[in-house]
């Protein structure tokens, strides 16, 4: 009996397999798993095969926080403004123009009303305009922007990035449950006019509204489908592309939205009809797919840097290095005894040989950093020899490393640690091969400059690590020096010196306080300066940001800026793409004859 049922089960399973082999399954339009053959045929749609590297955690604009989600959202949705890929300035998008009231607190945006909501129809394989009950096309209008912003501020939505919108009057109160969502100062005066009041005269507000958190969202669809409104079957959008398929953790397909006015109006627009995204996390696998012509573009794994960028590279000029709006830095927990003296901190910062680190360890064309704010932001003082000149080479007007170390030795001796004698400190970083290499190099540099210093390195799992450097974490658990990176949410110095380190506003893991016996006055100046710069005119704020950086990296020496990130990519010769902070998929062009010829 037992045996027979076993045989029956086996037969059933076999039958199922045979059945499945016979029935030709309907392959969804988005299936891009075919590595070869898919591209064959007579010049079908212009298709780019690109690796997103990870599953986008969301494509709901209000919930997005990471670069992958943002890359997809910016391709399928538009905001009031968008950032220019060259200089990161805010340029018109949904809003054609905007003005600021005399007191600087109220912004009025004039909107175009000819961008339709669209949806991909899987049956017809076409992107179609969404129509209302009366059959008329539905366009993106000011009330939907108002809804999008209010929804992001609503505590029920639980948006991670709602705090970016706290600059809008009433958003913070609503978000922390002390005010009503209806009282948030965003008002659609009519379909084409939106008025927003801010809590202070923020000159960078047009850049803030370029972030997905402030995008218009389709209220009806969100209310109908709830959390799953972003699935390919449900989503409606309004950007240059529309999502036609999303296979979670595997692939996503975007197809051109012919109704987007961008294609006709923007001279930078590219020619790509379809993006077949995959989600391969392992960089070496991604690179192998690139080599096997399964992808048109890839990151370059660390161990392939020399092969791609070395002299006589087999890859010709396929390798590309472009700046990325992030800064890698070490922060001092200034309340820890070992690093409580600003002279010690400056001496340590001076003894970091940034050029060697970049050339010998990182090899990705990164730029040695003398400031926290990355060069791609308004208000940056990167490479300005009046800010931490000891971090810059002589070519850039700095002192060069040898002179910096001499200065450091003097400072170290003045602080009572000649040659580092008697100084023991710990560098903390989260587990990662790359961070470990950097920490070991810096440990070696410090030991070379100050032979008697004792430097330990501690590594922790990411979550545990972040927990241990929180301000309320026990002092004994904290390292003296911690590593982190910061990437811009919007390209303005305020997002750096104010939102990260201002003791009243930022996370301030460096724990600077105005009652600090050594640097109290400087902390007070820094706190005031970064706050005042928010409302100063753009011209005036430049000098303020410069002074703030001088305080942060030199006089208080609370952080060690190490390097500015780069994006390192390899791209097939037939693809012409941008290497800005966001991909700007709508501006890519592909030469199909080159791709098909492979």
């Amino acid at each position: 009996m037992y045996k027979r049922s076993y045989v029956v089960m086996l037969l059933l399973a076999l039958a199922a397999m045979v059945f499945s082999a016979c029935a030709a399954p309907a392959v969804p339009a988005g299936d891009s798993s075919g590595s070869d053959g898919d591209m064959a045929g007579d010049m079908g749609p212009v298709t780019v095969r690109y690796n997103l590297a990870t599953e986008p955690p969301t494509v709901d604009p209000a919930l997005s926080t990471d670069t992958t989600s943002s890359a997809v959202i910016r391709s399928i949705d538009v905001g009031l403004t968008r950032l220019n890929p060259e200089d990161s300035s805010a340029e018109p998008s949904l809003a054609t123009d905007w003005s600021q009231s005399d007191d600087g607190l109220t912004w009025t945006f004039n909107l175009r009303t000819d961008i339709p909501w669209v949806k991909y129809n899987a049956d017809s394989g076409e992107v179609e305009e969404v129509t209302g009950d009366d059959g008329s096309v539905m366009y993106v209008t000011a009330p939907q922007v108002e809804y999008g912003i209010k929804r992001a501020c609503d505590p029920e939505t639980a948006s991670d990035y709602a705090y970016i919108l706290y600059v809008i009057d009433g958003c913070e109160a609503a978000n922390i449950g002390e005010g009503a969502v209806d009282d948030i100062a965003v008002t659609a005066l009519d379909d084409a006019t939106l008025e927003i009041s801010t809590t202070y005269a923020a000159s960078f507000f047009p850049q803030i509204v370029s972030m997905p958190t402030a995008f218009p969202t389709p209220q009806g669809v969100i209310e109908e489908f709830g959390d799953v409104w972003t699935e390919a079957d449900n989503i409606v959008s309004n950007g240059p592309y529309a999502m036609s398929e999303w296979i979670h953790n595997d692939s996503m397909q975007l197809v051109k939205n012919p109704f987007s006015p961008l294609w006709a109006e923007d001279s930078r627009a590219g020619n790509v009809d379809v993006y077949n995204f995959v989600m391969i996390e392992e960089a070496s696998t991604e690179f192998a797919m690139y080599e096997n012509n399964e992808l048109d573009d890839s990151t370059v794994p660390q161990d392939q840097m020399d092969a791609v960028f070395g002299d006589g590279s087999a890859y010709g000029d396929e390798g590309h290095i472009a700046p990325n709006n992030c800064t890698y830095f070490y922060g001092f927990i200034t309340k820890k005894e070992a690093v409580s003296d600003p002279n010690v901190r400056r001496a340590l910062s001076m003894a970091v040989d940034r050029v060697t680190l970049v050339d010998q360890i990182l090899k990705g064309g990164q730029e040695p950093a003398n400031s926290f704010t990355n060069p791609a932001n308004f208000g940056t003082v990167a490479f300005d020899p009046e800010v931490a000149p000891w971090a810059l080479t002589e070519d850039l007007g700095g002192t060069g490393y040898a002179a910096a170390v001499e200065m450091g030795k003097q400072l170290m001796a003045d602080a009572g640690y000649p040659d580092g004698e008697g100084l023991t400190l710990t560098i903390g970083h989260n587990v990662s091969e790359g961070h470990a290499r950097i920490a070991q190099a810096i440990q070696a540099m410090w030991t070379a400059a100050y032979p008697a210093i004792q430097v330990n390195i501690e590594t922790q799992e990411w979550g545990v690590y972040l927990d241990s450097i929180e301000n309320d974490a026990p002092m004994e658990n904290k390292p003296d020096v911690y590593r982190l990176g910061w990437c811009a949410d919007y390209p303005h110095a305020n997002n750096w010196v104010h939102e990260v380190f201002n003791p009243d506003a930022g996370s301030n893991r460096i724990m600077i306080t105005p009652d600090d016996p050594a640097i109290g006055d400087l902390v007070a100046e820094y706190t005031q300066l970064t706050k005042d710069a928010q409302t100063a005119s753009p011209e005036d704020s430049l000098a303020m940001y410069k002074r703030a950086e001088q305080l942060l990296v030199d006089e208080m020496a609370a952080i060690i800026p190490i390097y500015f990130y780069t994006t390192v990519r390899i791209t097939k010769p037939w693809l012409n793409r941008l290497y800005a902070n966001d991909p700007y998929f709508e501006y890519w062009t592909l030469d199909q004859s080159g791709q098909e010829g492979m």
Binding site: S33, S35, E470
Partner: protein, 324 residues
């Protein structure tokens, strides 16, 4: 027999309860919570509170646990914290079948190669066949997936361009009955390399076990009796020796099968296969408690069932074993 199975299933309930409780407590005892940060950035206290309220993390732990158990009874494993808008049920439904397919194919390959190799090695004990089969088996066990996978990709895909370098040739929107993939060419060409990578290590294990066990069995008295009766060598081995010598193999087979079909993190990652392996690992880093619990629960249920299956197989292999 039926009574035995029912009894075993009932015993499993307290076991599973303990596993859930311990996992629940362990996950929450890790420093850091799911909503402390977005990427490198710390989230303000107010934002974290909103998120915790949305997911019920502001309730006392015992209420959270009770809610979770209630969910399990209803078949609801809760929402994912790190993938907004996706439920753990959905994530398992999408990723588990892929790990299952990869696992079944790998185990099949392992059995097809490993068991005959073990038999031949045992029958030709201390000949060059035995030595070379042992050598290959030790090699198979010793080369880790993390080396073999990239090596295969480099040679077969990059150098010769014979097969795609990565990915799985079918997805959850195409599966029959929720888990059977369409047997297309696309499916097979994507399956070859990961199945070889995962399968060879297991085939080596099976070969070693089969050889050792069979060597012991063919020295038993009843085998001598069978030979004395004048049975052919083939008949002796296949009908009498094989069945009994399979007991150690079956013993490791159950847990191994469950380990493989619930996802191999390394192979899935190397080949970019969207299976469940990744979720076991990343859910812990993300402090995505519902996924940690959901994957652990699935694994535990699988293990309990596999062990029952193994015990039933004993009775079939060895008539002396009875479960009445």
């Amino acid at each position: 027999m039926t009574a035995y199975i029912i009894r075993r299933l009932l015993y499993a309930i307290p076991v599973l309860f303990c596993i859930i409780l311990v996992t629940f407590l362990l996950a929450r005892s890790l420093p850091g919570g799911p909503f402390d940060r977005a990427g490198d950035k710390t989230l303000p206290e107010s934002i974290r509170q909103n998120l915790e309220a949305k997911y019920g993390l502001d309730d006392p732990a015992y209420i959270q646990f009770a809610n979770y158990l209630g969910g399990i009874v209803r078949g609801d494993l809760g929402p994912s914290y790190s993938y907004r808008g996706r439920s753990v049920n959905q994530i398992i439904k999408e990723s588990f079948p892929i790990s299952l397919q990869l696992g079944i194919l790998s185990i099949l390959l392992a059995v097809i190669i490993g068991i005959p190799a073990g038999i031949i090695a045992a029958l030709k004990q201390n000949t060059w066949i035995d030595y070379s089969s042992s050598f290959v088996a030790i090699l198979g066990v010793s080369i880790p997936n993390i080396v073999l996978g990239p090596l295969l990709i480099y040679v077969v895909s990059v150098q010769f361009g014979w097969l795609p370098a990565a990915r799985w040739g079918a997805n959850y929107k195409q599966f029959y009955f929720g888990w059977i993939p369409p047997m297309t060419k696309d499916f097979w060409i994507h399956a070859i390399l990961p199945v070889i990578t995962l399968g060879t290590a297991f085939s080596a294990t099976f070969a070693r076990l089969t050889r050792a066990s069979l060597l012991q069995t063919i020295r038993e008295d009843y085998i001598r009796t069978a030979r004395a009766k004048g049975l052919t060598e083939y008949g002796v081995i296949m009908r009498h020796a094989m069945k009994n010598s399979m007991i150690p193999v079956v013993t490791v087979f159950g847990p191994l099968l469950i380990g493989v079909v619930t996802g191999s993190f390394v192979v899935e990652r190397i080949f970019g296969i969207p299976g469940m392996g990744e979720f076991f690992v990343t859910s812990i880093t993300n402090r995505d408690y519902p996924i940690v619990l959901g994957t652990t629960l699935l694994y535990s249920v699988g293990l309990v069932l596999a062990n029952i299956g193994v015990d039933l197989a004993y009775a079939w292999l060895d008539p002396r074993i009875r479960y009445d």
